[in-house]
């Protein structure tokens, strides 16, 4: 019999199931994040074999794209970054804490799995160092190139980080000036290309520029990490429209990096479609860092769940949540 499979005609045996149709696409259906719709209705994975198709039905088999809200992007399910699955969508920087004890308490409270460490400011082998603490908590230390102003400096720092931290991952920062700490786009793209060529998993800190984000994605970065506002400013997301365009158009994970001041900023980033949020000062410089870390954890989860749940449209005028029609006249 004939069906429409992903927009083209296809012939399948009579009585074929949804599972057979998926098979026919050649998509690895064992993979997570494969979704099927029959005549526009999603068929849950558990019902693929039991759902038989009939003549002329329209079947769409799609692979969820990282950064989009496909199947496999459920509240509390975590996300994929650099080929690894992470439960927590909150990444915490280790800068600015008043003491190691406050840092430890905040990292535990945040339930983060990835923490960033400035290569320039931390000596990996030092006794009692931040890294000892990170190891003890079983977290992944992601080295960053904070403080680098040229591509050459950032590349060199990343290479040192690979030796010292025994990881190919690097959060790439190339700063334009020390007043704004905004990224230098040209140097950033150059450094990213070099590092990707050398086999690094590159996570670039970038401006909230959709075109630049695409350039970074095209060059092979594992994620793009746009700022919400300048590092440490706590001004939140100054250009939500740009951020939305980035999350809509970029297929690698989008991680908001910089600008978060309080929990609502982190929630907004997730509502705008970010896959994760990276923050440091908002927690480390809070009066109670562990308390703020809890708030951020909930905010990221709440924002993510809200995006998946689908918000109502904004209206100019009120609409009563309980309709007037059908109420008994008393």
């Amino acid at each position: 019999m004939r069906i429409e499979l992903n927009g083209s005609d296809a012939i399948v045996p009579a009585g074929a199931s949804v599972a057979d149709a998926v098979q026919a696409t050649g998509i690895d259906h064992g993979e997570r994040g494969v979704a099927v719709a029959v005549d526009g209705e999603v068929v849950p994975r558990g019902e693929w074999s039991g759902t038989t198709l009939s003549e002329d039905q329209r079947v769409e088999v799609v692979v969820a794209i990282q950064g989009g809200a496909g199947e496999g992007d459920r509240p509390g399910e975590g996300f994929e970054l650099g080929g690894r699955r992470w439960r927590s969508r909150l990444i915490v920087g280790t800068g600015g804490f008043r003491s190691h004890e406050q840092m430890e308490q905040a990292l535990v409270a945040s339930q983060t799995e990835i923490v960033t460490v400035a290569l320039r400011r931390v000596e990996p082998g030092a006794e009692g160092s931040v890294l000892e603490l990170i190891d003890r908590l079983g977290l992944f230390a992601l080295p960053n190139t904070a403080g680098c102003y040229t591509a050459r400096d950032a590349v060199r720092t990343a290479r040192l980080g690979r030796e010292a931290f025994e990881t190919d991952w690097v959060k790439l920062e190339v700063i334009g000036d020390d007043r704004t700490l905004m990224p230098d786009a040209v140097e950033l793209v150059n450094a990213a290309e070099t590092l990707i060529d050398e086999g690094f998993t590159v996570l670039p800190y970038t401006n909230d520029d959709p075109i630049l984000a695409r350039r970074l994605e095209d060059s092979g970065c594992a994620a793009v990490m746009p700022l919400g506002s300048p590092i440490g400013s706590g001004m939140g997301i100054r250009n939500p429209y740009n951020l939305r365009i980035i999350t809509e158009r970029v297929r690698v994970p989008v991680i908001l990096d910089a600008g978060v001041g309080t929990a609502s900023d982190a929630a907004l980033a997730m509502e705008l479609g970010c896959d994760a949020v990276l923050l440091a000062s908002a927690v480390s410089r809070a009066e109670d860092p562990a308390g703020m870390a809890v708030a951020m954890r909930h905010a990221v989860e709440a924002g993510h769940a809200a995006r998946l749940a689908g918000r109502i449209p904004r209206r100019t005028h009120a609409e009563a949540s309980t309709p007037m029609e059908g109420r008994p006249e008393l």
Binding site: R98, S99, H100, E101, Q102, E104, R121, V122, E123, G125, A126, E127, G128, S129, V130, R136, E287, D288, P289
Partner: protein
């Protein structure tokens, strides 16, 4: 051993301001004391420190116990300095000029207001000043100033002068100080015995560990017994007047630096905070930042002579508070003073002298106990020999 064993009431390991202050205070209680210093007295963090006595300026969120200890020690300083001057015949360079915390732009003002609020919450002496009031106090401040906070009773001691006068007071008081002597093995007792690299043995009722940033590596303690101390690097620049007016007469604290004037015309500009292990390299970036900030705050600093640039290692702890109290056996820990070693010398010395005399210290040492850190084997949470916990 061919040599006769030397016996003391107290052996102090580490000849910095903390170890020397403990030694001097124990001597004044009539105990016999010997200080063992691996290098020269005062060759560690104190040789590089500015010596600020700033309990209010150091106040921070979530560090209430430390604030209380800092305030208590600050209150002891005037008498401590006076008695030390009398005992040693030398001046520890103690002064109480007050500290002016300044904000140079809107962002710094917001941050300073937040700190001022914290001061008020804790009833600390701290006054918000307008820009012009700040410049009346210190006319050398940059005109772009946005406002400031004046803390009247804060001051400084000159750490090198302090070490010299403490060492003199210990010797005058009948204590011995041995330099260039490294402890290689120790029995934590009681009674304690110590073997030094030169093969000599000394014994004592109590051992005081005051080796600052090195105490976390104490070879003669089991790894689990060592205090949780790590080195935290700081770079500091010393400038000097070339005649003419002083650029400032009070301590000036900015968002990213402090400047401490000395009576002899020097101005100490510090300090970076870096987690670099035992590295003491002076870096161009660190110095640049200090000089840029000092120029931004007090423009006249540009005309001063640059006399010294140093990097030192503070003894940092996980919660920024010192480690004071009973270690294993008859060992007393007096270490981990981080940014407050000079400030905390009197209170530390009093507490340690009380412990080794079998008395209760005047301050509650529980928040500073060596065993307080999670994941660290608790060392002698119960009172040690003759002590009171």
């Amino acid at each position: 051993m061919s040599e006769r064993r030397e016996r003391f009431d107290v052996l102090v390991v580490g000849g910095g301001p903390i170890g020397l202050a403990c030694a001097w205070t124990a001597l004044r209680r009539g105990l016999s004391v010997c200080v063992l210093e691996r290098d020269k007295v005062g060759s560690g963090a104190s040789d590089v420190a500015a010596g600020m006595l700033a309990p209010v300026g150091e106040a921070s969120w979530g560090e209430e116990s430390l604030l209380e200890l800092n305030l208590a020690s600050h209150a002891l300083w005037p008498a401590f300095a006076e008695e030390l001057r009398d005992a040693s015949g030398m001046d520890p360079g103690y002064s109480r000029s007050g500290a002016l915390h300044v904000a140079l732009d809107r962002d710094e003002t917001e941050e300073l207001r937040r700190q001022h609020e914290l001061h008020r919450e804790h009833d600390l002496e701290s006054e918000w000043l307008t820009a012009s009031a700040c410049r009346e106090l210190e006319p050398g401040l940059a005109p772009r100033l946005a406002g400031g906070v004046f803390v009247p009773h804060e001051g400084a001691a000159d750490p090198r002068a302090l070490v010299a006068s403490l060492a003199a007071a210990v010797r005058v008081g009948g204590g011995s100080i041995e330099e260039g002597v490294e402890v290689v093995r120790a029995d934590t007792g009681p009674p304690c015995s110590v073997r030094t690299a030169d093969g000599r043995e000394r014994s004592a009722e109590h051992l005081v560990l005051a080796t600052g940033c090195h105490s976390g590596q104490t070879e003669w303690l089991d790894p689990g017994e060592r205090p949780r101390v790590r080195p935290v690097k700081g770079e500091i620049v010393t400038l000097r007047e070339r005649g003419g007016e002083r650029v400032c007469s009070r301590i000036v604290v900015g968002d990213r630096l402090y400047m401490v004037p000395r009576p002899d015309g020097r101005l100490l500009v510090g300090a970076t905070v870096e987690e670099k292990g035992f590295d003491t390299t002076v870096t161009a970036g660190g110095v640049h930042e200090l000089l840029r900030e000092s120029y931004r705050t007090l423009p006249e600093t540009a005309e001063m002579e640059l006399v010294e640039i140093r990097a030192g290692l503070r003894p940092g702890t996980p919660d920024n508070a010192p480690i004071l109290g009973w270690g294993p056996g008859a060992v007393v820990f007096a270490t981990g003073h981080f940014r407050n070693g000079i400030l905390l010398a009197p209170a530390t010395a009093d507490a340690v002298a009380a412990l080794v005399s079998g008395e209760a210290p005047a301050i509650d040492l529980r928040p500073f106990s060596p065993g307080r850190f999670a994941g660290t084997p608790a060392v002698a949470a119960a009172p040690g020999p003759g002590g009171s916990g």
